[in-house]
Structure formats: structure tokens, C-alpha cells
């Protein structure tokens, strides 16, 4: 700190500190603390706020634990977000390996330009694209019928199937890029050494490349899980009535019931879920937060 004052002077240093404090305190910490506090307050009409009925209560959380439907939606959200994360890893890992170690380095900028095109298109447009493709009279069904693979159109948007398809498509790149970065930092000599010593390809991956790409996998998993569990667009567009997502219930509390207190309790549950996931990933992969977010 004293070094900073010496370099930038008192005024500039305090400006830096003030900006950072504004960000962390006013935009991040205090709103989240207030969310936490608010989730323990009852939902009251405006006149009763601050009155004798305005006491701390666990009622909002009990609403969740008393509702088997909400609990099951929560659990399915966790399960399917984990499945999405796993599928993304399975799809992205071979590609990340190919791009970082096999493909010609000269072709990489072009490939990456093409790969980032979907990221330039907003999430809502990408899920909308799948809405068109998967609809009953959509291109996929007509194509399959024309090719005589199926006879009657398939209703794709039942259950969680279409949500899975949409989420994997939307977030797979968030898995690809971190793993690519991680594998790229591996010395190719190590792969060659393993091969020279007679290791079959799968063991080279299992013992050399996969361990080295752990920070990338951790980072990708955290991002994909968080984005999937917190996604609002994909489930709203692609889910059916039988497959509800936890964020949809949060939305109901906020907009339909106008019960912001229960809404904040549910939002807080989502936050806890993501925090637990980050912690679990950091433990399993033995990485630090600074390895995950880079």
C-alpha cells in the first residue's frame, strides 16, 4: 500500500481504493448480505413493514422444505446441470486436445474465429434456434421423416431432453476454451516421452494429459454448472410443463406472487448450491480459486 502511494500519490491511490470499495461493498457484498437478511423476513403488506409483525423467521425457507414439488425441481435442476456439465466435458475434451496438440498452429486463429461465432450470438437467439429445430413441425422432424428414419414426427420438447440439448449447445464452449488453455501449457515432450516409453494412447491421456488439464476442467465445470443451474432462457424456451427449472420458481415468487422475501430465500438457495459446487470442484481437483477464474 505504501508502495502504491509512493508511485501514484495519495489522491490517485485513494481514488483506486474508493472505486474498488464501491464495487465490492456497494455492488457485491452489501446487496448479497441484504438478500440474506431479507430472506429471513416475512412477506408483509407495506403498512406492516417495520411493525411488530416484522420479525426474523425461517418461514421462507420452510416454504421450500415443505413443498415436495419445489424440492424435486431443485434436485432435478442439480442433477441435470451436472449431466450437462459432464456431457460438455466429454464433447469438449477431445476437441481441446486436438486443437492444442495436434492441429496445425497456423489454422488456430481461423478455427477460433469460427468457434467464437456462436458466442457473439446472444443466448436467447441460440436457444431460439433449437426451439425451431426441435419443434413438432420443425426441420429435424421433417428431415428425419424424409430420410425415412422415423414415420411420425417426434415430440422432442417433452421432459428434460430438449433442455439438455439446449444447455449443452449453449454452454459447451465455456468448457472447451479453459481445457484448451490448460492442455496448451503442457510440454509436448511429456506426451512424446510417454509414447516413446510404450504407453498406449489412453494411458497417456489418463496419466499425463488429463492431470495436467485439471485446472481447465475445474474452471469449465464451474462455469457450465453455474450457467446451467442459473439459466432462465433455455428452460423457459425449451422446457415442457413436466420439466421445470429452479430459476422458473424463483421468477414465479418474484413476478407472479410478488413475494420478494420468499424469492430471495430461493435465490439464496441457488447461491448456496453454486458455492457448494465451486467448493466441491476445488476440493476434488485440488485447485485454487485463482486457477479457476483466470
Amino acid at each position: 500500500m505504501s508502495d502504491m502511494i509512493r508511485r501514484y500519490g495519495f489522491t490517485l491511490t485513494s481514488t483506486f481504493c474508493l472505486l474498488t470499495a464501491f464495487w465490492l461493498l456497494v455492488l457485491v457484498i452489501l446487496p448479497n448480505l441484504y438478500l440474506f437478511e431479507n430472506s429471513f423476513r416475512p412477506y408483509l403488506p407495506v403498512v406492516d413493514i417495520g411493525g411488530p409483525k416484522d420479525v426474523y423467521t425461517l418461514k421462507n425457507y420452510l416454504t421450500f422444505f415443505d413443498s415436495p414439488i419445489h424440492i424435486s425441481v431443485f434436485i432435478w435442476t442439480v442433477v441435470y446441470s451436472s449431466i450437462v456439465t459432464f456431457i460438455c466435458f466429454v464433447i469438449a475434451y477431445p476437441l481441446a486436445y486436438y486443437l492444442s496438440k495436434v492441429a496445425h498452429p497456423r489454422s488456430l486463429p481461423t478455427l477460433f474465429l469460427i468457434l467464437t461465432i456462436p458466442l457473439w450470438v446472444s443466448e436467447i437467439m441460440r436457444s431460439f434456434a433449437w426451439f425451431i429445430i426441435l419443434s413438432l413441425k420443425g426441420p429435424l422432424n421433417i428431415l428425419l421423416i424424409d430420410a425415412s428414419v422415423i414415420e411420425k414426427p417426434i415430440r422432442w420438447m417433452t421432459g428434460f431432453r430438449s433442455v439438455l440439448i439446449g444447455l449443452v449447445y449453449t454452454y459447451v464452449l465455456f468448457m472447451l476454451f479453459p481445457i484448451f488453455n490448460a492442455i496448451q501449457s503442457l510440454d509436448t515432450n511429456q506426451i512424446e516421452a510417454a509414447e516413446d516409453l510404450g504407453s498406449p494412447w489412453w494411458r497417456t491421456h489418463w496419466r499425463v494429459i488429463l492431470p495436467h488439464s485439471k485446472p481447465g476442467i475445474a474452471s469449465g465445470s464451474v462455469m457450465v454448472f453455474m450457467l446451467s443451474a442459473g439459466s432462465i432462457l433455455v428452460p423457459t424456451l425449451l422446457a415442457s410443463t413436466s420439466s421445470r427449472w429452479f430459476t422458473e420458481i424463483i421468477q414465479q415468487w418474484m413476478f407472479e406472487s410478488n413475494d420478494w422475501n420468499t424469492g430471495s430465500a430461493y435465490a439464496f438457495l441457488l447461491l448456496i448450491l453454486c458455492t457448494l459446487f465451486v467448493t466441491a470442484v476445488m476440493r476434488t481437483f485440488r485447485v485454487k480459486l485463482s486457477d479457476i477464474a483466470r
Partner: protein, 273 residues
């Protein structure tokens, strides 16, 4: 790496690229198909009417204007905040650094819905009504982290003795910042501003909870999708894709020209990160 597996990898890459791009083509194609439901099969006929309908929608232009205003405000706030935070954290060490770092990257790992709701509730407590200003604050809370990470990475290659030399030669503090540090950071600041701008345009989750009665582009599209689907949404998608793609390609061409100039000047640096 033997030939057979190389061939397999190539096929896989092509399939993956198709998987990434074909849905976008389907969506783009549907914008020109003369059918009330957006689709490419069956192809009814070529039409431009969806673009005309889109242009005649006053809500669209309004939401477009709002989106740009929010994005500019987010850039204006998050770039200075992220830069200040990166400079601050770079001069710290030990537990202070790791604690601050965790706090700063935490918003990236927080679901947008949580950010949106906490921002809405917090400001509502001080009787600030919801609206686009809250969307800006909510978005800044996590977009600043992207800027911070970019600037922090750039700071690693900064030679601090330059600042000391400037100070020894009698430069005052603002001059050191303006003439020594900021010019070194310009690439990161530019990239940070671009990322902040596009993140803000794409944002939906935070905006949905904080926007109040106002529309942004994503919210507008969302409400259109819910109220009844017509190919006007596809027409909008085509325009957006065209604009961003032109931008991306122009950026890439500029980057390659610059790279070619650098290559022509002398041997490339050993590490280009």
C-alpha cells in the same frame, strides 16, 4: 500421432463446427422463409416481409436504444473500476491479495438471477425504483471482474522500474499514470471495454429482475418469443449476427495485418501471451 486418429479428429472437428453453426443457419434461413411459423423446411418462398414487420415495431427501436445506453454506461463504469481494482490488487500480497481476489471473482461465479434479485432488493431498500440504472449496477458488479482479470494479466508484463524512472526524472503522479502505466494497459483496456460492451448487450438474467418497466433487446426478444412466435425474431437475429460478425471479422483482419507487420519487422517474440 498416427494418420488414422488424425483423420478421426478432423472428422470430429468438422462435426463439431457443424453442430455449432448449423442451428444458426437454420435460424437465419427462417428469416427469409414465407411461412408464419419460423422454419426452413418446407421452404415456402423467399420474402423480406419479416424485416419490414420488424422495422415497423416501435418497441424494437426503443429497446435497441436502451440496450446501447445500458452497454455504454456499463463500459463507462466497469472499465475504471476493473482497472483500479487490478492496480490495487497487484500491489498487495499475501492474504489481503487472495481475499480480495476471491471477492472480486466471486460475482463471475454467481448466477445472474441472484445478482439481479440482490441488486433489486438492496436499492429498493433505499427507495430507488427498479429500472435500467439498476440493470447497469447489477451488470457492472460482475463485468468489472472480467476487466479486472484482463488488466491484471497485462500488469504482469509491466516493467515497474519505468514508473520509478519517471518519478526520479521529476514526473508527478498523474503524469506517471497517464504517460507510463495507462499506455501499457491500453490493449487490455480496449479488450475490457469490448468484452464489457458485448457482455452487457447479451445480458438477460440480471436485466430481467432489475429492469422495471423498461425493455432491452434480450428482454424484448424474450417477450416476443413468449407472446407468439413469428419470423420477425429471426429477422432480428440475422441483423444482430450480421453486425457482430462484421465487427469480429474486421477485428480479426486488423489483428492479422498488425501481426504481419510485426513479423515483417523482425523475429517474433518468444512468448506472445
Amino acid at each position: 500421432m498416427n494418420r488414422k486418429s488424425d483423420w478421426l479428429f478432423r472428422a470430429y472437428l468438422v462435426i463439431f463446427l457443424g453442430y455449432m453453426l448449423l442451428p444458426l443457419l437454420v435460424m437465419g434461413g427462417a428469416a427469409f422463409n414465407d411461412s408464419r411459423f419460423p422454419s426452413v423446411f418446407p421452404w415456402v418462398g423467399f420474402t423480406g416481409q419479416w424485416f419490414v414487420e420488424l422495422w415497423n415495431d416501435p418497441r424494437l427501436l426503443n429497446s435497441f436504444k436502451n440496450t446501447i445506453l445500458v452497454a455504454l454506461a456499463v463500459v463507462a463504469l466497469s472499465v475504471p473500476i476493473g482497472t483500479a481494482a487490478a492496480i490495487l490488487i497487484n500491489s498487495l500480497g499475501g492474504w489481503a491479495r487472495s481475499t480480495l481476489y476471491s471477492l472480486m471473482v466471486a460475482p463471475i461465479l454467481t448466477p445472474g438471477a441472484v445478482i439481479g434479485i440482490s441488486t433489486l432488493l438492496f436499492w429498493n431498500r433505499f427507495s430507488v425504483p427498479s429500472g435500467l440504472h439498476l440493470s447497469v449496477l447489477g451488470q457492472v458488479s460482475y463485468i468489472s471482474a472480467f476487466v479486472m482479470l484482463l488488466v491484471l494479466a497485462r500488469l504482469q508484463s509491466f516493467d515497474r522500474s519505468l514508473e520509478e524512472a519517471a518519478l526520479d526524472l521529476g514526473a508527478n503522479h498523474p503524469t506517471v499514470l497517464r504517460r507510463i502505466l495507462l499506455p501499457h494497459l491500453y490493449p487490455a483496456l480496449g479488450a475490457g471495454a469490448a468484452i464489457a460492451f458485448f457482455q452487457s448487450i447479451e445480458n438477460f438474467n440480471v436485466t430481467l429482475f432489475t429492469r422495471g418497466p423498461y425493455d432491452t433487446m434480450t428482454v424484448y426478444v424474450f417477450s416476443k418469443v413468449r407472446s407468439g412466435i413469428t419470423p420477425t425474431i429471426n429477422a432480428l437475429a440475422v441483423i444482430l449476427i450480421a453486425v457482430t460478425l462484421t465487427g469480429a471479422i474486421a477485428y480479426e483482419i486488423a489483428r492479422r495485418r498488425k501481426q504481419a507487420r510485426l513479423d515483417a519487422l523482425g523475429p517474433p517474440p518468444s512468448d506472445d501471451e
